[in-house]
Structures are given as C-alpha cells and as structure tokens.
C-alpha cells in the first residue's frame, strides 16, 4: 500500500515485504545479524579493502582530475567557506550559518501546524456524517490541488499574490509568514494522505470492537484508530519532514527571508565561488542526517516489534 504516489511510497511497501517474510532493506541493524550478513572474517576483510579502494578512487578523482584544483578552489575553499559561514557585511557577504536559523525556525513552526492541519483534513475525510459532506468535499479538493501544484508555485502564489490583494491583515504579513503558510498548505496535503493511509491501515475489526463498546464514531477514531494510525505513519511522516527541512529554502524566493541557501547564493554570486553552497549543504546535512537516522531506528524498532508481536499471537 503506497502512502502516496511520488515521494513517500517506499516505507509501507517495505512493511508489506517484511510482513511477507522477505528481508527488509535496512533491517540489518535491527536484528543484530550485521556480521553474519557480511559472511565472516574473510568477507569482512574483502569489504574493508573494497571500501578503502572505492573511497580512495573518489578522493583520487578530486585530487588528480585535470580540473581538480579549480573545483577545490571553487567548492572547497576553506577561507571562503569560513567567510560564508560567518558572513562579512563590509563585503556584502551574508552569513549562511545565521541563515540556517531561519530555516530551523520555519521548519519547526511549519511542522507543528502541518501535523495539526493534516490531521484535521484526514479526519474530515474519514467521518461519514452527512452534515460534514461539504467539508469532506473541500478536504478532497484541497488535497488534490495542493499535492498537484509544485511547492515553488504555491510559495510564489501566496507570497506575491497576497500582498497584491491589498487586504488589511492579509496583504501586510511578512515573507516569513507567507512562506510558512505556503509550506503548511502544500505539506498538509501530503501529510493528510499519509495520515489517511495510516487510518486505513487500522483493521476494521478494531473499529467494530470500539463501536461495540458503545464508543461513538468520533470517539472510536480518537481513542482507538488514530493512536494506532499515527504510530504506523511516524516513519513516513519523518520522511516528509526531512523534505520539509530542505524545502524551507524555497521560501527565499519571496525576497525578505535570507535563509541559508539564499545567503549562500548571494555569497556565491558576489565572490564567484561555490564554497558557500558547500557550507549550506553541510549545514543542511547536519539537520537532516540525525532525523534520517532517527527514522531508520524507528522503522527497525517497528519491524522487530511487529515480528515479536506476530510470534506470540497464538
């Protein structure tokens, strides 16, 4: 069951594989069979040599290629990397490090709002109360539209469109606000679908059990279905949030938000080097890699728990 078409489909596919008894990619750490999979000491030696040769080859590329010196100068110039990280107002250079703080702020604010709005949308689509029909329709249209429209266009639309309307309170917000609104609009549509996949993955018998106790539809959803659904979708959700961290950079197109990527762009075009981009890339990696590892651990834990649980059902 793919969570959604384009980006996040792999996690649940992986679950299906696991359920079917196939080895799960990334399950090496989880079941403590790491050394076994490598096949003993000889194999370990081979893999070490192969790793060294591979990394050596890549390094050789950077050292001995005819243009290597130029590449090092433009991409990995320590002096300019430091300058880009700290910024230098006297030369019109922006600080990439300071810019990253904006990325983190946008990410954190947007994430909280997305988790909330997406859940509301997913739940609206789930409730079968006829009174809620128009809202359900709205939720369907909303997810269709905002999953279909590229984020950059949503950012442009909100950031350039809202001020052009000259509506008091709407047209006078900062680009920071417009950017977050656009991120929330776009990502909530994705995340709502992730939630919905999670809700649908909770077996109907759970609903029957809840309803048979006399719980209303809403209370069944609230106390029985959603807690299980959310647990299932945490890994794909985190996956989405790794994308979100990076996509905060797109808000810079509105102008006023000089986040890490935009600061790097300015520095790059001022000095004609790309070292500032390297700094931005490294900083983004510092943000996303911990989250990615955390996601992997959650998936591994989930898989092992599922297996342990499966073994004791009878």
């Amino acid at each position: 069951m793919p969570v959604r078409g384009s980006r996040g489909g792999t996690y649940l596919d992986q679950q299906t594989l696991v359920a079917a008894g196939a080895p799960a990619p990334g399950s090496f750490e989880g079941n403590g069979r790491g050394s076994h999979l490598l096949g003993g000491q000889r194999a370990a030696a081979v893999s070490t040599v192969s790793t060294v040769v591979f990394i050596g080859g890549v390094i050789a590329l950077f050292v001995f290629a005819p243009g290597a010196a130029a590449v090092r100068h433009t991409f990995f110039n320590p002096q300019q990397m430091k300058q880009a990280f700290l910024g230098d107002p006297s030369k019109g250079l922006y600080s990439v490090g300071k810019g990253l703080i904006l990325n983190i702020e946008m990410f954190l604010i947007a994430e909280v709002l997305i988790l909330f709005f997406a859940l509301v949308i997913a739940v609206l689509r789930q409730l079968r109360n006829p009174v809620l029909f128009p809202f359900r329709m709205l939720a369907v249209v909303y997810t269709d539209v905002f999953r279909g429209v590229p984020l950059i266009i949503v950012i442009y639309g909100i950031g350039f469109g809202a001020p052009a309307l000259y509506i008091r309170g709407v047209s006078t917000q900062s680009d920071f606000v417009y950017g977050i609104v656009a991120l929330v609009l776009s990502y909530s549509a994705y995340v709502a679908e992730v939630y919905r996949a999670g809700i649908n993955s909770v077996h109907q018998s759970q609903v029957a059990a809840a309803r048979s106790l006399g719980l209303s539809q809403w209370k069944s959803l609230r106390f029985v279905v959603l807690p299980q659904a959310v647990r299932t979708v945490i890994p794909p959700l985190l996956n989405d949030f790794i994308s979100l961290q990076k996509d905060t950079a797109l808000v810079s197109t509105l102008g006023a938000v000089i986040e890490a990527n935009r600061a790097a762009q300015i520095d790059s075009s001022t000095l004609f080097v790309y070292s500032s981009y390297t700094v931005a890339a490294l900083l983004f990696l510092c943000l996303t890699i911990p989250l990615a590892r955390f996601t992997d651990r959650l998936i591994a834990r989930d898989v092992s728990r599922r297996m342990a649980g499966g073994a004791t059902v009878r």
Partner: protein, 275 residues
C-alpha cells in the same frame, strides 16, 4: 449443567451475581427478541427470517456450518449490521426503529469476537477501562478499581500492565471477555470465541464462559464446540442458510434431532471426532 437446570432453574436470585449481571431494572422481561430478521449483503441473503426469543439468564448456543448466519445474527443484535427487514427488541424495546441511539443500545450488550480485537496500543487495564471511562463516564480511578477486580477474578491480574501482543491467545480472549464485562452488559454475545485458539488454550476460555453462565449472565453463543454447547446451553439453535431449522434443549437437539439437515450436520461433526 443438566437439562433440568436449563429449563427450570431461572432462579435469578440463586444464580445471579451482582457484580456481573446487568441493569436490574431490566430483569423479568424478555431479554432479546428477534422477529423475522432479514439481512443481505448485496444479493447474498445471509439471514432469511430469524425468529428467536431469549429469556433473562438464558444461555443459547447457535450451531451450524460456517456461513449459516450465526455471526451475522450476533452482529445484527449488536447493531454492527443494520437489518434489512424485521425487528429486534431488547428488553421490550425496538432497537431497530429509526432514531434509536445505537451507542446507547450497545452499552448494554457485550460482544466478544473470534479474533479478540483487543486494542494493541493499550495495556490490558486500559483496554478494559476504555469503555467505562469514555462511554459510561466512570471516573478513571473507579474504573481502574473495578477493572483490577475483574482481572483478579478471572486470573489475569499479573497481566494488567502488559500490552496484548505479550499475551497468549487464550489470555487475550479472556481479556476481551473481561473488556465486555466491564461495561456491565445485560447480555453477552460470543462469536466463535475459541475458533482462533490453539486447542490447548480453548479450555481456559470455555472455563470463563462457564463461570459467566453460572453467574446468571444472559448469553447468545455462536460456537463450533459441540461438547461445550451441550454442557452449557439452556437451548441450542441449529442455523442453516439463514434460518433456524431446529431448536430445543441440548439433549434433544444433539441426541434426537428431528430435522434431516440437523442430523446431517451433527453426523459430520461426530465423524470429525468433535462431539
């Protein structure tokens, strides 16, 4: 339990158990009454006119082949499936009438499923107290107090803080029964509750049901355990293709069935060594 008990021993006071039996105001009426109940899924007609009446404290076992409509009948009583035709009355009240609050009806009916359907994200105690707290509005400490008492009574007190996936199937099913009992239902519906269990785990669950019967619980039990049905039931109903073909005291149905289909069914069961 002898037939004499089943037919004559409705003495509520003798068998009743204050901690388990339901709403005292309902005692004395017919507990459940089905009148010409029809239920179809699409073109498939599962129930084709069921008439059945269950007295308070009566234990009725529904037997019949798979697909004969036993489970659907139970789900209809609990309003998990709406009926297409006919009426269902609980303690004299038509619960299939339009405008009936199904949640209110379900409070008085406990149902236990073949596949346990415990809530995997909750501990055993939370599974049991969810209904009382969220539906009946019992304060949490009182609900947990009552829940703990029930677990002690059914030998599950050491599992109180475990999650369901740490329990054996038999334990899970017992918890599921306790979860239904925690709502203090007036009637219990048991849907093939031992079918998903390994043979060695069946008896512990049957023991619990026996205890309920001894305590005077009104029960409608769909089962394949014929020996058990013969022991526990006040009345046995044989369902075939959506109608009750034959019913009566277990001794009569099991030893001298009148209907040829019943005879056939029981012969297959005996041949399979299950009676």
């Amino acid at each position: 339990m002898s037939e004499a008990d089943a037919t004559g021993g409705f003495g509520g006071a003798a068998r009743g158990d204050a901690s388990l039996s339901g709403n005292p105001a309902l005692v004395g009426q017919e507990a459940v009454r089905l009148e010409g109940v029809h239920k179809s899924f699409g073109v498939l007609e599962i129930l084709r006119g069921i008439d059945l009446s269950v007295a308070p404290h009566e234990v009725i076992c529904l037997i019949g082949a798979s697909g004969s409509g036993k489970s659907t009948l139970l789900r209809c009583v609990n309003l998990l499936e709406p009926v297409n035709r006919g009426r269902i009355l609980l303690w004299g009240q038509d619960v299939t009438a339009p405008g009936v609050d199904e949640n209110a009806v379900r409070r008085h009916i406990g149902i236990v499923f073949q596949s346990f359907n415990l809530f995997p994200h909750m501990t055993v105690l939370r599974n049991i107290t969810l209904g009382p707290i969220r539906v009946l509005g019992v304060p949490r400490d009182q609900a947990e107090e009552a829940g703990r008492a029930l677990l002690v009574r059914f030998g599950l007190s050491d599992k109180r803080d475990d999650y369901p996936d740490r329990l054996s199937g038999g334990q899970q099913q017992r918890v599921a029964i306790v979860r239904a009992l925690a709502m203090r239902p007036g009637i219990m519906l048991l849907d093939e509750v031992t079918s998903a269990l390994d043979p060695e785990l069946v008896s512990e669950v049957l023991g619990v049901i026996r205890e309920l019967a001894d305590a005077g619980m009104t029960m409608l039990i769909a089962t394949h355990e014929m020996g058990f049905a013969r022991d526990i039931a006040d009345r046995v109903c044989f369902l075939d293709e959506g109608v009750i073909l034959e019913q009566g005291p277990p001794r009569q149905v099991f030893t001298a069935p009148v209907n040829s289909r019943t005879q056939q069914f029981l012969r297959r069961i005996v041949d399979a060594g299950r009676l």
